[in-house]
Amino acid sequence: AQSVAQPEDQVNVAEGNPLTVKCTYSVSGNPYPFWYVQYPNRGLQFLLKYITGDNLVKGSYGFEAEFNKSQTSFHLKKPSALVSDSALYFCAVRGPRAGNMLTFGGGTRLMVKP
């Protein structure tokens, strides 16, 4: 069975500093990882997805993700954090079954302090 791990429940960073939110996964076949963000009382908002051949994927709001095939990781990064980036971040991979339903990690709460 496939799985996604987000080893940190919470990441704290000062505004203006770089941030990293970690994600590793275990899948059969080719991985197609995604990142989503969730603000309070809202649904999940798509941030970015892995594009075959790109080890550094750029997404919305200045976020990017680093794909490492050998380490089966897809860490989310941003060079300079904003207070407004504070939210819950989910890493996900699409399923091996037809339909591509997503398997999610447990989520990481990002707190950016002024």
């Binding site: 989503y36 999940l44 798509f46 699409r94 037809a98 591509n100 339903m101 398997t103 999610f104």
Partner: protein
Amino acid sequence: GAGVSQSPSNKVTEKGKDVELRCDPISGHTALYWYRQSLGQGLEFLIYFQGNSAPDKSGLPSDRFSAERTGGSVSTLTIQRTQQEDSAVYLCASSLSTGGGDSNQPQHFGDGTRLSIL
């Protein structure tokens, strides 16, 4: 609107009652998914619809849960004889396609229905 619309946004009901949750996907999206988000279990897949094909019900936790999608658009998720463990946020998502070269299409989520069973 342009996004996935879910109703109601909040639902409080007594244990043992039936509830019906509605999802209106993005126009033109052929794939529709239901997920459940709860404190103990995180985000779990429930059921998936693609066009007029038979749905994939592999994630439904019990036979008290069912869903349908009429006319390939609006979907309703029904929970019969609700239990307290059904309390969660139920999220609906839609995407353009799920196969072939479009298989990496992102899913777009609604804001969910927060279900509370008393």
